[in-house]
Symmetry: C2
Subunit: 355 residues, 2 copies
């Protein structure tokens, strides 16, 4: 139950991966503490500059010599006009005003700037000899895969459907993370339409496991030993847990975000693309309600940049109304333990229930 | 793994329930064959007249003396005007014509006629001393619960969220069927909004199991031993399987429907309310595409009645284009075994993987 091909390949004790949540959640304290316990910590580098990624990797290495992973976002093509940006910026202006935000101040991303940042992130991963690299939002370019494989970096791709998983295996991924519809935060579909990508893990795991030969990692809604054991029997070699680690003491999630999850139930959880331009699962709040009928949302990551000052101001004011309060579908199972204690307890419970 | 409080209460050998799929699928052959194997067969009586239900029960009893259940739909209030009905009927006319349908011929249901039919169904269940009765689409009236409990009928309610499960337990249900987002056919939510009711079983089962004291039955996307064992570890006492039995030899599902499932994958599956007025999961076809942007769909069961001649004509012509091809999210796991063989194989696999 607790060891298999995957734990051997990754050189970890337990088939437990802390999800690489982007946006400041995966502090070096969280990542290193997870890896120190024999699970796999992951740096969510999606939005990081190369410099910041360097620093994070070094800070993790100061705290642990165990393996950890870095996650990056495969850059996507997008196209927005100045007029479209102006329209959304205007729409957001009254919210900005009410929060006292003085202009956004951030330059807008372009496909070229995203691609450059991605390539620099890969460069850092190689330079720092990070042992494991995971990808979200698509298939990395052939040259990127080749470069990383040459240095024996273990590669993980993220799929939401059987067909996406098959493609990722064909493109050289050593393991496939399958994201169930239960997952919090951004949806990772890249071939499938959103609706068709919303597959519950109890359906998705066995159907993927039947069709790929590499190890499968199940992500979405798994928060305790019951979920881990279930995922293993369904055909996954490991689980990747996001929300379960987000509320842990070492996580860099804002206290208001942690608290919102600890008090949430299923009636509060929705999918929205209003924060970033990509669909994501989180707790309903004023911003999501305000944007519900707004149809001109811009593609990722432009929308994300346009809302960033609002999200930051809301967080600074400890006001959940305009923050992106990502969560999976199991908030009732959230705890506020330390990551170390959480993993110890989880492992013990797995042993107890499978005895 | 294979026996527990629930199997004791229901007097069955295995914690496997054949889902009560309405609309002619649960033939006496299917129901009796499932019960004969030591699982629980279920008559999907939702759309049945009392007379037809009588006949089904007797036909099942001729074939098995083992327990079986009957499922009924809790009637809902609805209100439609003649004008609204005319508008939809007009919209459907070109489809009817293309299929050669000569008028619908069925009288429209009213809240009063639905309530009367429901009460007569309950009367048949009592008269025939059916041991187990399950409900979909809400909470049955207090008097109905009292009458059935007085005769020791075991009652199962269907929930899609933790709060719905808690309510059903409070209203006297002896067991709770929890329908995950993976499930095929009609969504059973009655308190929650549709979006909030779409919870994957890996999230839903443990959260419900923590909050109710009666046994929990997991339904949705479970098609094999892996799903059954996973559901048990997550906290369910049993599984209810629909699609897995729909494609079995004894099922009354149309051959075109069975074939569509056997060839489907996740890219073909959608939610639609166009067939019946309630949201349901099935395989995308011409009818669903045609109705996609049509916003005047009538409430259940009026819409269902208005589309019935079209669905029937489409089936008579072995044309999948206008049939309701319900399926859960695991079509790749479907088989065309006999129900008896399917259950034997399932039980053996459960023993093998948990040895």
């Amino acid at each position: 139950m607790l060891s298999n091909d995957l734990t051997d390949m990754l050189q970890i004790d337990y088939p437990i991966i802390q999800a690489p949540m982007a946006g400041g959640i995966t502090t070096p304290e969280l990542v290193s503490s997870v890896s120190e316990q024999g699970a796999l910590g992951s740096i969510g580098a999606g939005y990081m500059t190369p410099k910041s990624l360097h620093q994070h990797i070094r800070d993790v290495r100061k705290r642990t010599s165990n393996p950890f992973s870095v996650n990056v976002f495969v850059p996507n093509e997008f196209n927005v006009s100045i007029e479209e940006v102006e329209r959304v910026a205007n729409h957001l202006r009254s919210i900005s005003k009410s929060l006292g935000v003085k202009g956004n101040g951030r330059s807008l991303p372009t496909p070229a700037s995203m691609k450059r940042n991605f390539e620099e992130q890969i460069h850092v991963i190689l330079e720092e000899k990070v042992p494991i690299c995971s990808f979200t939002f698509g298939v990395p370019a052939k040259e990127v895969v080749a470069k990383l494989k040459k240095e024996n970096v273990i590669l993980m791709g993220t799929a939401t459907t059987v067909n996406e998983a098959i493609l990722l295996e064909n493109k050289g991924m050593d393991m496939i993370i399958i994201q169930g519809s239960e997952a919090g935060g951004h949806r990772g579909h890249f071939l499938a339409e959103r609706e068709q990508s919303m597959i519950g893990l109890i359906s998705l795991i066995p159907q993927v496991a039947d069709r790929v030969t590499v190890p499968v990692i199940a992500a979405g809604g798994i928060m305790d030993a019951r979920g881990l054991v279930a995922a293993r029997y369904l055909g996954a070699s490991a689980v990747q847990m996001g929300t379960a680690f987000l509320t842990c003491a070492e996580s860099g999630a804002h206290p208001t975000h942690k608290e919102a999850i600890l008090y949430a139930n299923e009636d509060h959880i929705v999918l929205t693309n209003a924060f970033s331009g990509k669909w994501a699962r989180g707790i309903k709040n004023t911003f999501i309600d305000d944007m519900k009928d707004y149809t001109s949302i811009l593609p990722f990551p432009v929308q994300n940049t346009l809302t960033s000052a609002i999200r930051k101001a809301s967080a600074d004011q400890h006001n959940p109304a305009y923050m992106s309060l990502w969560t999976g579908q199991s908030p009732r199972l959230a705890t506020d333990l330390s990551a170390a204690r959480f993993i110890q307890q989880l492992v013990q419970e797995v042993k107890d229930i499978t005895r």
